[in-house]
């Protein structure tokens, strides 16, 4: 089958690619745009490792078609640090040792970023429920929750 041409905006850059209509947004990011920071842990929406921000909201990129990116704005983990400066969340994840293997980290960072955009002062409980769709098998989540809360605090103080 003929491929479809898609024009989209990723991390602020105009991007174009050709894809099969059956390919997912995650496939396109990884295989056509060399943005391999979004990970496939399941391909069926259960693990959150593929989380990206799509038109301002966090979604699983394995559950969107690549063709749906046409004309849309997408942010991925690759765009989180700005000009070599880490986002506060990234910094806090390192300081709190909130990652072991790190495969879940890009997805969790994207989901946390979207949380802090909507809720500047989340409770522990809110963070845990917000991140329930992001599986981490290494950490037991404790250090992740601490890192997000600490990042929220610092973001409140710096703004």
């Amino acid at each position: 089958m003929k491929k479809v041409h898609v024009s989209t905006t990723i991390n602020g850059d105009n991007k174009e690619f050709l894809c099969d209509t059956r390919e997912t947004l995650l496939d396109a990011l990884r295989d056509h745009l060399a943005l391999t920071g979004s990970k496939e842990g399941c391909g069926t929406g259960d693990c959150g490792a593929c989380s990206v921000i799509f038109e301002g909201e966090v979604i699983c990129s394995c559950l969107a078609l690549a063709v749906e990116a046409e004309g849309k704005n997408i942010d991925t983990i690759e765009g989180m640090a700005n000009d070599g400066k880490l986002h506060i969340l990234q910094k806090k994840f390192l300081e709190h040792a909130a990652l072991q293997c790190g495969i879940c980290t890009p997805g969790i960072l994207m989901a946390s970023k979207s949380l802090l955009q909507q809720n500047k002062e989340p409770t522990k409980e809110e963070v845990r429920f917000w991140l329930a769709g992001n599986l981490c098998r290494c950490t037991g989540y404790d250090k992740i929750i601490n890192a997000v809360l600490d990042a929220a605090k610092e973001m409140r103080e710096t703004v």
């Binding site: 209509t21 069926t44 929406g45 959150g48 966090v58 078609l65 749906e68 329930a132 769709g133």
Partner: protein
């Protein structure tokens, strides 16, 4: 696979009705993309309806709410006015999947997927909601229980799809509730679900609908359970009777998510808890 993303409802009706072959609507995609990936279905046409503006709205009319087929779960739960009026429907919608799923999944998709365990459906049935169906020959309305014919099956013609859900305004001294049971706190499909819609007059139950999910091939409206509460006051007796009837009315199967015995028992427990919670809501409001 052909992919279409029409901009208007008219275009959508045309594209969909003119295509002969295996076709599906793409709403949030949180069911259908999983089905594509796992080879459950291989449609020849997938039509995305999320870019259609008129399907992306929640509107309030004199005596009903109208929710477009493209509205995400997150946009329903964020709507303060709606969720205040229908906390139970909102609970059901809010339970669908994770944050990420919420931002994509639609209530119409939840309904159209016709899974007996769909969290959005029991409270809709309890609220007497209807769907608006569009097709080659115009619109029609259908009750939800008549729409769903079995697991994964809808009573719709091949040129038709759902454009809106219509939910009546809630009555005075009434409220609804949806509770489900899952083994974790999140990210599970309901093992049992229960939606109720309740009205109270002079401390007695004046209208009630009890609906069970995940305990049969489709949602079960338990008429007997509902009738058992009618005119009664809420007390240990009426609740235990309700519990007993729901245990009996549940027709579950044994599977990876639960046993028959377990599901029956929990159906009774949830019905009791959901009625209590809805009742409490009414009392708090008045």
């Amino acid at each position: 696979m052909r992919y279409e993303a029409p901009q208007t409802l008219n275009q959508a009706v045309n594209v969909f009705s003119e295509f002969n072959g295996l076709k599906r609507i793409l709403a949030g995609g949180t069911d259908i993309l999983v089905q594509l990936r796992t080879d459950v279905i291989q449609p020849e046409l997938l039509m995305n309806i999320k870019d259609i503006e008129e399907l992306g709205k929640i509107e309030l009319f004199d005596n009903f709410w109208k929710i477009g087929a493209g509205v995400s779960a997150a946009n329903i739960t964020r709507n303060k006015e709606f969720s205040k009026e229908w906390p139970g429907i909102t609970e059901g919608v809010g339970l669908i999947g994770s944050t990420q799923i919420q931002n994509r999944a639609t209530l119409v998709g939840n309904l159209s997927n016709a899974s007996p365990a769909a969290d959005g459906v029991p409270a809709l049935v309890a609220a007497n909601a209807m769907v608006e169906i569009v097709g080659r020959n115009g619109n029609r309305k259908l009750e939800i229980l008549s729409l769903i014919s079995g697991p994964g099956k809808l009573n719709m013609k091949s040129d038709e799809f759902i454009s809106h859900i219509l939910i009546p305004r809630q009555n005075k001294n009434s409220s609804d509730c949806y509770i489900r049971f899952i083994p974790r706190t999140e990210m599970d499909i309901a093992v049992v679900g229960c939606g109720v819609n309740l009205s109270v007059e002079n401390n007695n139950i004046s209208a009630v609908k009890v609906v069970l999910g995940a305990v049969g091939p489709k949602v079960i409206f338990s008429e007997e359970a509902s009738n058992s509460l009618l005119g009664a006051s809420l007390n240990a007796d009426s609740l235990s009777k309700l519990q007993e009837i729901c245990e009996r009315d549940a027709k579950p199967i044994d599977d990876k998510r639960g046993t028959i015995d377990f599901r029956r028992k929990v159906a009774g427990v949830l019905a009791k808890r959901a009625v209590e919670k809805a009742y409490k809501r009414i009392m708090e409001d008045s």
